[in-house]
Amino acid sequence: MTAISLTVNGKVVSGNVEDRTLLVHFLRDHLNLTGTHVGCDTSQCGACVVHVDGRAVKSCTTLVGQVDGASVTTIEGLSHGDELHPMQAAFRDNHGLQCGYCTPGMIMSAVDIVQRHGGKLDEATVRHELEGNICRCTGYHNIVKSVLDAAGRMNTAQAAE
């Protein structure tokens, strides 16, 4: 067993976990944060993406022990109260989701993409960057639209700050 302490969505959480506990299982089973999903066993599909210290990470291939002391943000921690994060709003407004299963990971990856590329995103870059997130429903058309739309909204919001 390993004692761990980390910040999840702004709250400090700690506990004793089996050494082999993956971050995704810690979030889902210990913290009941079930928005982060498992879609594969091989770190391919990205349904499990969360932010660790501001960077997109696949929580299905991260031991929770590896993020001891880190700050983790999950899909549940992205919005400000009732106000959706611009990426969440863009996915809704552009019909960027259908069954919703890949959506949390897709949104967390997309936020990271926009943060890394700033205002220089184009369709080809978004498609290339989404390589690590699989969606079976949307055919990506509206996901790409959502990310580009959100990039505009996030950059506008940043400029206003």
């Binding site: 082999r20 999903h37 066993d41 809704r92 997130n133 990506y140």
Partner: protein, 781 residues
């Protein structure tokens, strides 16, 4: 239309919970005292189970029980069934081998369960499953259909000699032979429709709970049709009578057909929950999904098409071998027969068709309906044939199609289907314009100058959806009726609940169905809730597949709404002291036409429930239900055109443009419809370029993870250009046809036709990987 009525792209009501991580999928649910199941699965494609030693596993930490196939047989849990009876040419019924939920004696595919470990935690169950010792005696395996029917092939089931489930036919053989005898030209092709793994992003999962006091089971499951699951679990698997079994399908993360079927895992979870008297949860991992979710397609076909001297089609002959895998899954028998051969007329006038289909057992995962189910295989065959024929006859592929289009409706094909309506020229014209077909030769020449091979490919698909008229499918062997039910509950405060037997697992019913209510009663969609996916709430329903939810389920809602409207108008007229025939509904108000007298829906509803002032003899309340059974299938159709560029040096293909012109009849929510098309197209492109479930000769699935099975990713596919043409479906009150499967049905032929056009070699199998394309370039004559 109102702002939220029919035709409005209303944003989805379900999206707030999905974008904020508040969706509630089966694996998100925890019950008090819940245990976890992990299955012990066969590593062999074909083997005898000589013994199972659970003693070491039972001593592992947290283990509650280890249960085996023999125990489930001893407890008289029923074998899995196939619900559609298909007969061979000689009139004999299909030959089916027994499929117990866990194998007691023989395993016939890699991944088949032989035992299950129930433990306190998921990891403990997984660890202990490793410690279960199974003594197997390996048997020779066969995975390929042609090899399976060859002399001396390993035999899977004693009930099915030579591994043949059925040898079925459709159409008029003599008339077809006559057509070929008269032909000026005959075009022949061999075609393989590659096996696919459905891969909904949410793996299948089940939680079973037994209530000893009530002798009642609850099953939470990833199902597209919870009522069908309850029916089958009760009537055939002896789990519990229907009134003692509640099936709940909460948020479900995609289905694509794979979650229609009732699988061994939910049967075992239910059975085990009573045995251990605690809730049992099973959540599959991705490799289990690859091994045990029913696969799709897997046809090997030979086709011949006869033309007269004017290039009019005279006849079509098709012989198909369909791989069923090791067992007959729930609707498997219907897929390569009544959902396939009945669509072989395509969009064309073909006077004579004869199709033969042989269904074959192999040591592979069971094969059943996957997005399109039979219709993609038919569409691929016909559209490859048309393109190849155009090349051989040296005519324009668009014009060859146009010359042979059905233009007069209704049109009775020689293979059962009666097309009710369509305008195939309109969708072809829309697609040709959208892709600028006239400019293609110049673009091709320019690409050539830059060292690239450019090609264009067509696919004019048709599908039979709105599944299905109960009497018709009953006469063809279906074990169920395929109607749908709806109930409208107007609450005393005027909010509305719509209970539907359809199930949404990404299709957006919570929005589209509300729009039907908004259109009819003028209430905002925020005042309407859709209730689905729970057999305790919705009385009965047949679920969602075959692009049926709107055409059949939506029509049931409309029928129930008509009854609600009629009663509400009576009440309003009584309250307003007016004649019922003078009442009109405007923006949620019941108005006396030509006056300023009106009463709002909530006041009508309140009057219905207080019952203080109702017309004499009227029952209180405002709640109506309806069952809708369609009179015919619906026939969505359209044209897809794909323009691609091939790098001759590497065989890599790149999309230049992909246009889709679909006729789905009336669109309720165009935004959602377009999303369905995007997703379908991507699955069709996935089949054409990337995906293939591949077995080695021993029955090992060598593509059992996302590392090995190429799912379409964002940079594999283009942005799409969509067009809509419209002929309203005459068969249902909404005029809708269904849009869920079209993309997957039509896209693959367009892609392969484009690549073969570019490289100048018609011989190219799916998935057209760079390796295969490169070799096809080298092999061209």
């Amino acid at each position: 239309m109102g702002v939220e009525g029919i035709g409005a792209s209303v944003l989805r009501k379900e999206d707030r919970r999905f974008t904020t991580g508040k969706g509630r999928y089966v694996d998100d649910i925890k019950l008090q005292g819940m245990t976890h199941a992990h299955f012990v699965r066969s590593p062999h494609g074909h083997a005898k189970v000589k013994g199972i030693d659970s003693s070491a596993a039972l001593k592992m930490p947290g283990v509650v029980a280890v249960l085996t196939g023999q125990q489930i047989v001893d407890d008289k849990v029923g074998n899995l069934i196939c619900g559609w009876a298909v007969h061979s040419k000689d009139g004999t019924p299909m030959k089916m081998g027994a499929w117990p939920a866990m194998a007691p004696e023989v395993v016939r595919f890699v991944g088949q369960a032989v035992a299950v470990v129930i433990a306190e935690t998921k990891n403990q169950a997984r660890d202990a499953a490793e410690a279960v010792q199974v003594d197997y005696e390996e048997l020779p395996a066969v995975t390929n259909v042609k090899a399976a029917i060859a002399a001396g092939a390993p035999q899977l089931h004693p009930e099915a000699p030579n591994n043949i489930v059925y040898d079925w036919e459709l159409g008029d053989q003599a008339a077809t032979n006559d057509a070929f005898a008269k032909a000026a030209n005959v075009v022949k092709m061999d075609l393989v429709n590659n096996r696919l793994a459905p891969n909904a992003m949410e793996p299948r999962a089940a939680i079973a709970q037994y209530d000893e006091a009530e002798e009642h089971f609850t099953l939470y499951t990833t199902s597209q049709n919870p009522h069908v699951a309850r029916l089958v679990l009760s009537a055939f698997y002896n789990i519990a009578p229907e009134h003692k079994l509640r099936v709940i399908a909460p948020d479900v993360g995609g289905g694509f057909g794979s979650k229609i079927f009732i699988y061994p895992e939910e049967m075992v979870a239910l059975w085990a929950s009573k045995k251990v008297n605690r809730p049992v949860k099973w959540t599959g991992d991705r490799t289990e999904a690859f091994l045990t979710d029913a696969h799709g397609r897997d046809h090997v076909s030979h086709a011949e098409m006869a033309f007269d001297k004017d290039n009019k089609i005279l006849g079509l002959r098709v012989k198909t071998h369909a791989n069923f895998g090791a067992y007959m899954s729930l609707f498997s028998s219907s897929v390569p027969t009544y959902l396939y051969a009945t669509l072989l007329s395509g969009q064309y006038n073909i006077p004579a068709i004869y199709a033969e289909v042989m269904g074959v057992y192999t040591n592979t995962s069971p094969v059943d309906a996957y997005r399109g189910a039979g219709r993609p295989e038919a569409s691929y065959l016909i559209e490859r044939m048309m393109e190849t024929s155009a090349r051989q006859l040296k005519v324009d592929p668009a014009e060859l199609r146009r010359k042979n289009f059905v233009t007069v409706f209704p049109h009775q094909t020689p293979v059962i289907m009666a097309y009710d309506i369509g305008d195939f020229n309109a969708s072809l014209d829309a697609a040709l314009k959208s892709i600028d077909y006239a400019g293609f030769p110049a673009r091709k020449a320019k690409a050539k100058a830059e060292g690239k091979l450019r090609g264009i490919g067509f696919s004019c698909y048709i599908e039979a959806c709105g599944i299905a008229p109960s009497k018709a499918v009953g006469s063809l062997g279906a074990g169920v009726g395929l109607w749908e039910s709806a109930e409208i509950r107007v609450n005393p405060v005027g909010t509305i609940e719509v209970l539907t037997g359809s199930h949404s697992h990404g299709q957006g019913h919570e929005t589209t169905f509300c729009q039907l209510v908004a259109e009819r009663l003028g209430v905002p969609v925020s005042q309407v809730s859709i209730v689905h996916g729970d057999t305790d709430k919705v009385q009965f329903g047949m679920g969602t597949y075959g692009s049926r939810s709107l055409a059949v389920g939506g029509s049931a809602i409309v029928k129930a709404l008509e009854k609600v409207e009629a009663k509400a108008k009576k009440i309003a007229a009584y309250q307003l002291e007016a004649s019922e025939s003078d009442i009109v509904i405007e923006n949620g108000e019941f108005k006396v036409t030509g006056t300023d007298k009106s009463i709002a829906l909530p006041m009508v509803a309140l009057a219905a429930y207080t019952a203080h002032n109702l017309p004499d003899g009227m029952e209180p309340g405002l709640k109506e239900s309806a069952f809708y059974d369609p009179s015919n299938f619906t026939f969505p159709a359209g044209t897809y055109i794909c323009e691609i560029e091939v790098d001759a040096g590497t065989g890599k293909t790149e999309f230049v443009n992909f246009v889709a012109a679909d006729d789905f009849g009336r669109l309720i929510n165009p935004m959602i419809v377009e999303g369905q098309v995007h997703g379908g197209l991507t699955q069709g492109i996935g089949q054409a370029l990337l995906e293939g479930a591949v077995y080695d000769d021993n029955g090992q699935l060598i593509t059992a993870s996302f590392m090995d099975y190429a799912m379409p990713r964002a940079d594999d596919v283009p942005s799409y250009k969509l067009q809509h043409t419209t002929t309203l479906c005459p068969g249902n009150p909404l005029g809708v046809k269904g849009c869920g499967e079209a993309g997957a049905i039509g896209a693959s032929a367009a892609v392969i036709n484009a690549i073969t056009d570019a490289i100048g070699n018609n011989s190219l199998e799916m998935p057209a990987t760079p390796d295969r394309v490169w070799h096809a370039i080298q092999a061209r004559t």
